[in-house]
């Protein structure tokens, strides 16, 4: 907990965890120590459903650069989908 930088956001969708797919309710986004990625700090995203216990979690730990590229790419894909008339 050495930066304590964390934000929570409600999300709607599904995640595939250790016991298969489950309904997602929240994403916890932090910039703090990762568990596995080889960095002192990482952009960590935990997609969770707390009502199903702490194990209902899909985790990613990204470098700062990777996280920024991912954000840009997500927005680019959504823009393309919107331009193609795929967003209702």
């Amino acid at each position: 907990m050495c930066t304590m930088i964390v934000e929570k956001v409600k999300v709607d969708g599904s995640g595939k965890g250790q016991n298969g797919w489950f309904k997602l309710e929240q994403a916890n986004v932090s910039y703090d120590h990762p568990f596995d990625a080889p960095f002192e700090h990482a952009l960590n995203i935990d997609f969770v459903n707390e009502s199903q216990g702490v194990g209902a979690r899909v985790a990613v730990e990204l470098s700062e650069q990777a996280a920024r590229e991912l954000v840009k790419t997500i927005l680019q894909v959504l823009d393309e989908a919107e331009a193609g008339g795929h967003l209702s």
């Binding site: 907990m1 050495c2 930066t3 120590h33 702490v54």
Partner: protein
Amino acid sequence: MYQTDMYEGLLAETIAMQGANGDTINAFFARPLGRGPFPAMVLAHHMPGWDQWYRETTLKFAHQGYITISPNLYFRAGHGTPEDVAAKVRADGGIPDDQAVGDLAGAMRYVRALPYGNGKVGIFGTCSGGRHSYLTACQTPGFDAVVDCWGGRVVMTPDQLNDKNPVSPLDLTKGLSCPILGLFGNDDSSPNPEQVNQHEAELKKLGKTYEFHRYDGAGHGFFYYNRAAYRQAQAVDGWEKVSAFLEKYLA
């Protein structure tokens, strides 16, 4: 020093203990076999949780002759793998300082009550555990030595304070009643070298007994052999510093 014809034996198990507010929490406990008297250590685990490294470190201290207890400071977050529990705590902005201090003080009382102790108790922590160790030693009589390994956010600015972290640990330094050993990597960003200097200056100003060691070529968590942060030479030297410090104040 160990000789190959010596007998060695340890007892290690999960136990229940009373922590903050009288809550029952679990802890990993290990001790040398024999009637003692043995010194004791309380371990404050790090942000990645009550994990394998802390179990191993509990055994390491016990193997070196200490009654050792590592309370599960994330007990109240629920149960699952250490990573999943720690991820929940991380998302919730950590645990309240007064709760951590209460749990660690409870662990100290647990080992003090054992009939084979020598009456000396130290506390050791890394990362957030270093910070929690310092907070506890500053607010709780009953510790004879504290080891703070790269505890971040000991020096806090007013904008960093909140309900869970209401006071900067640095401002509690006056209450520190035992010697402190601090180990830090000069490439660390939390605490960074300037914050370590501020911490040392406060200890010096208040006349505390302290020993700070700063390591070049090391950042945060350089003891963690399972992480990229591991630095072999610095870790070996750091562990030697820990052993010598505890031998001096707890034997």
